[in-house]
Amino acid sequence: MSTTTTPPQPWADPKPARRAKRRSSPEWTKAFSPRNLADTMLTGYLPILIALIIIVLPLVWMVSSSFKPVNEIVTLTPQLLPQDATTENYVTVDRRIPLMTVLQNSVIVTSVGSIIKVLLAITTAYALVFIRVPGANLIFLGILVALMVPPEVSMLPNFMTIEALGGRNTLWGIILPGLGTAFGTFLLRQHFKSLPKELFEAAELDGAGHFRKLFQIAVPVSLPAISTVSLVTIVNEWNSFLWPLIITDSRDRMTLPVALNQLRSVEDQVSSYGILMAGAVLVIVPMLIIFAMLQRYIVSGLTQGAVK
């Protein structure tokens, strides 16, 4: 503070000061040295920027296109922003499909489906790890096999079963076949296995039963993992297309993606781009909100395995 105002002392040799200055200057100029700049740019910002463009640009383009009239979408001179913005596409989506009904169906199917799925995954994983069941490994193997079989394979038997049960065009018919979740069980089992045994031994000494151990110890300490499972489940349920398409044909019981599929019409493709974009925005926005809400957990959930 005072050093800047003090005049230079006659006995002081200016050379070491200059040397010191030269030595200290890299401390802040180093950050701007061409080498460091190139390093940061090439290994840090550039990849991030490219990744961002690849991921975000299509989404931006989709949102922008949903507000464009069709002659601005199919054109040789595309503009990022709509020149003659219109909400006509959204109005058309609303006119052609009962948006509120299908939105409600989607919300019900997604919430009920994911809650049951996650609950089942937590309890199954807990049972596999902490309860001594004969053949637990065999059961786990069965779950792994289920993970390897593509869901399309079970489409037909599922359809026949659900139809025989009277589940066509019902919400429970959409939810029921997907309830067993091999992925969630697998992920949580691996996570539970990594929890310190001492935690549970201590709880046991305090007289805690399985129920308390599960919901007061295992679940709270595994929240990031459970959030990851929840998030993946919610997104899958929300976007689930093939099964709801097969099991519903009445619009009162359709989920959002299936109903939006009905916006496509044969031989009317070129004029429907904007409408499809509007539909896609309507499907994606709720998911973006959920992602934003759970983002903190996802990141910690994903990195958890890495830093252990």
Binding site: V70, N71, V74, T75, L76, R96, N137, L138, L141, G142, L144, V145, A146, V149, V153, S154, L156, P157, F159, M160, E163, R168, I246, D249, S250, R251, N261, Q262, L263, R264, S265, V266, E267, D268, Q269, V270, S271, S272
Partner: protein, 441 residues
């Protein structure tokens, strides 16, 4: 110890795999009764129409609102309730839906030129001739070429509903700029005009060919017929690799090689409407969409002539079919409904709304043509309609085979004859595996 756990584990894997395979092996029983015979046995004079029927439709051409109007009118007229089911977004989905679960409760279903025959083979459809007569529907009013598409072994299996033909579209502004007087009449002129457009730098390409998922074998049948070739002659597949067919396809291939034509990336409709290409051939059902999208004046013309034949046009689109699983009462009510949906007056309004050609000869379209004369070309062109080749519409999988081959031929410059000979043998084997027993047996 460790060893035994592993072997036990593998036993588990094996057991589950076997179980999974066993479950997936169970398919539906496809051996239905012979629908044609059953329907012929019905004495329609004793049958009273049912009170309600189920109509499965994909609302072709974005026709949902107008279909609902027609249905209200029908219910008002006859007292028969119609429940509408949206059976998919396109014809393939509708057909899949009908073949799996929907067949059990749909009475009337919309099926396309290429999807009705597999359903016929599954005995899912009844011949409509007798039941239409019983319902007092005069079939002589239908445009003959469109109705005859559903004729197989002496019976008709559908009624023309949302029918289209390919149409020649051109960009009037590009024509003016390049100093071209009018649309081409022959394929030779298409090439000349396209070359001029490219030379004058008016557009990037003069002509856009369809990509594989825009049913190229449908529109390009005109080109092949024009040279005297065909995709097949009834069940004789040798024409697909005949000199004439090869010559026609080599002409198309040279167009792409010489740079006056391209193969559209997504759809030729997009390339044309955006101005990338000045001319294309696309369904009449796309007319409405193209007029909405294009910033320029759109011209329409007949499909071009070839060196051998005048520009014949294949017919396409969808018809209404009656389900064999329905009771005779429902079938009679369905026939009445089908008659209403394809009457002269209904078809005129349907055509105006969607762009499909009216399937009834007496449909009055004069007012529509006054406003949008482009529509008229499609209807006038019906005089040149030709029933499609068996290979494309009846042979399961053949249209796809043609589509992918055409795209690769046009874009890669492979030897046309070699490829088409491969297609021919592919057709033979498809026929042997999928159809021979059904047709000859």
């Amino acid at each position: 110890m460790k060893q035994s756990t592993i072997s036990l584990s593998w036993k588990g894997v094996a057991a589950f795999s076997v179980a999974a395979l066993a479950v997936t092996a169970c398919g539906p029983d496809t051996n239905g009764g012979d629908a044609a015979e059953e329907a012929e046995d019905t004495d329609w004079a004793d049958v009273e129409p049912a009170d309600s029927i189920v109509f499965a439709t994909n609302h072709p051409g974005g026709s949902e609102d107008i279909e609902a109007d027609f249905i209200d009118e029908f219910t008002e007229e006859t007292g028969i309730e119609v429940e509408v089911i949206t059976s998919g977004a396109n014809y393939e989905e509708t057909s899949q839906w009908f073949q799996t679960g929907g067949g059990s409760n749909a009475d009337v279903v919309v099926l396309s030129d290429a999807t009705w025959f597999p359903n016929y083979l599954n005995d899912a459809l009844i011949p409509v001739d007798d039941v239409l007569e019983a319902a007092d529907i005069d079939v002589s009013g239908y445009v003959e070429a469109l109705y005859e598409d559903y004729l197989y072994e002496g019976n008709h299996y559908g009624v023309p509903y949302a029918r289209s033909t390919p149409l020649f579209y051109y960009n009037v502004e590009h024509y003016d700029e390049a100093g071209i007087d009018g649309p081409p009449e022959t394929w030779e002129e298409v090439a000349e005009i396209s070359q001029t457009i490219v030379d004058e730098d008016v557009a990037q390409f003069g002509y856009a060919f369809p990509p594989s998922d825009e049913y190229p074998a449908w529109g390009m049948a005109n080109l092949v017929w024009g040279y005297g070739g065909a995709w097949s002659d009834e069940w004789d597949f040798s024409t697909v690799s005949s000199d004439e067919t090869v010559e026609a396809l080599e002409f198309a291939q040279s167009g792409v090689e010489d740079g006056w034509a391209n193969v559209a990336a997504t759809s030729q409709t997009d390339d044309f409407s955006s101005g990338v290409a000045s001319q294309t051939i696309q369904s009449t059902g796309s007319l409405g969409g193209i007029m909405d999208t294009a910033d320029f004046e759109v011209g329409t013309a007949f499909l071009p002539d070839g060196p051998v034949a005048e520009g014949e046009t294949p017919t396409g689109g969808a018809g209404l079919m009656l389900a064999s699983a329905s009771s005779p009462e429902e079938q009679l009510a369905s026939a009445m409904f089908v008659g209403h949906m394809t009457s002269a007056e209904t078809q005129a309004r349907f055509s105006e709304e969607t762009g499909y050609v009216p399937s009834h000869q007496d449909s009055d379209m004069s007012q529509v043509y006054e406003e949008t004369p482009q529509f008229e070309t499609a209807v006038d062109q019906l005089e040149r309609a030709r029933v499609q080749d068996f290979a494309r519409v009846f042979l399961p999988g053949a249209d796809l085979e043609l589509a992918t081959t055409l795209q690769s031929l046009l874009t890669s410059g492979d030897d046309v004859r070699e490829e088409m000979e491969r297609v021919e043998s592919e057709f033979e084997s498809l026929y042997e595996t999928d159809l021979a027993d059904e047709i000859e047996g």
